[in-house]
């Protein structure tokens, strides 16, 4: 049964990949917009559905809830996951190592290599996206591509095991910032002024700033170093007592939502107020009102 499930999952993901590749090739190679739209539809429908159903088959029902520290009791009561479970319920007891691959050591090592090196690929794509943004003459395109850039950097933060930062980057960088930039463009127009272009001074500024930042990273502890100051201060016993203290297994969540809960509430209020104010400002100005307001 387990074997059938694995084979089905692999098959679904293979076919899904095929459609993703066909769609991506189509987006690049097909001759006009409407045919390219068809190709993109292929990625969004068959490609996405097949890959996600493959993943769904590989993942044990309720394992996400357990990793998030919630006991998936309703699922167990419904008998959806098919096996009785007893014993410890705390999240770390359910943490499991990354799955072992079927299909021999070769595929296993290739997978491990790709998963480990995915950050290099994402950083490479970030650079490529930045170059495309720089070359884009229309501000519109630049705004859209900064959205893609935000998605990429958020994925990179996810790889660094910082999902909370990735959440923020995805919603603020890709969502709110895109909408605000488009709102700005609707007020000031979407074309850059051509002509005058002296890149030397900006280039010098950027190079100097970049060099200073890289120089700054030399003082940082190595990635994942257990002796780094952030892992020793405040007292590591925080991690041990948090779960007893506030019954939230994720320490970051516990700090944000409980230890400094009022602070977070205040922050959220400020951000919410700011968002409402900006929306009201954007609303206040319509093209047909311009004569009345004298703008």
């Amino acid at each position: 049964m387990e074997l059938i499930r694995e084979i089905a999952a692999d098959g679904l993901m293979c076919v899904g990949c095929l459609f993703v590749l066909i769609g991506a090739l189509g987006i690049v190679r097909l001759p006009d917009f409407f045919t390219r739209m068809h190709a993109a539809g292929m990625i969004d429908t068959l490609g996405a559905y097949l890959v996600v159903s493959g993943i769904a088959l590989r993942v044990e029902v309720g394992s996400g809830a357990r990793q998030a520290g919630v006991d998936p009791l309703p699922l167990r009561d419904l008998g959806l996951d098919g096996r009785p479970r007893a014993g410890p319920r705390r999240s770390r007891d359910f943490a499991r190592p990354p799955r072992r691959e079927r299909g021999g050591p070769a595929i296993e090592s290739v997978t491990a290599f790709i998963v480990e090196r995915a950050d290099l690929f994402i950083l490479g794509l970030l650079v490529a996206t930045a170059l495309v943004i720089v070359r884009a003459r229309s501000l519109w395109a630049a705004v859209m591509l900064t959205g893609a850039y935000s998605f990429l950097s958020a994925s990179w933060m996810m790889l660094l095991d910082a999902p909370d930062v990735a959440f923020t980057e995805a919603s603020v960088g890709a969502g709110v910032a895109t909408v605000l930039m488009l709102g700005t463009l609707s007020l000031v127009g979407g074309n850059t002024r051509g002509g005058k272009n002296r890149p030397l001074l900006p280039l010098a500024v950027v190079t100097l700033t970049g060099a200073a930042l890289i120089y700054g990273t030399l003082d940082l502890p190595r990635h994942g170093d257990p002796d780094a100051i952030i892992h020793r201060y405040p007292d590591p016993s925080y991690v041990e007592v948090t779960e007893k203290d506030v019954q939230i297994p994720n320490v970051v969540t516990a700090v944000l939502a409980s230890y400094r809960g009022y602070d977070t509430l205040g922050e959220t209020t400020v951000v919410f107020t700011a968002a409402v104010a900006v929306l009201l400002l954007l609303r206040a100005r319509r093209p047909e009102d311009e004569g009345e307001t004298g703008a």
Partner: protein
């Protein structure tokens, strides 16, 4: 297997970026950025499974919603040129 899937998705993302850079029209760019977003969602899904951190799927959900809202916002802007208020009267 996840490795191959991740490689395919990565290739797809690079190709979508090529289309976004080549742009005959602005709608091609919207299309490419949308496909890029979908592929990012898939990449996160597969990565979270490969890394054994399936709770990162929540992030994929946020991305999918953001992608959708972003494209709606861009298209709305493309049609009306502003976000405020309701759409102008339909001329037909």
């Amino acid at each position: 297997m996840s490795g191959i899937v991740i490689a395919c998705l990565a290739l797809g993302m690079a190709l979508a970026l090529v289309r976004a850079a080549r742009r005959p029209t602005v709608f091609d760019r919207i299309l490419a950025v949308n496909a890029f977003g979908t592929l990012t969602v898939l990449l996160i899904t597969v990565m979270s499974e490969a890394m054994g951190r399936i709770d990162f799927l929540d992030l994929a959900l946020v991305y999918a919603l953001m992608n959708f809202i972003g494209v709606i916002a861009i298209l709305r802007f493309a049609k009306y040129g502003f976000f405020a208020g309701s759409a102008p009267e339909d001329p037909h």
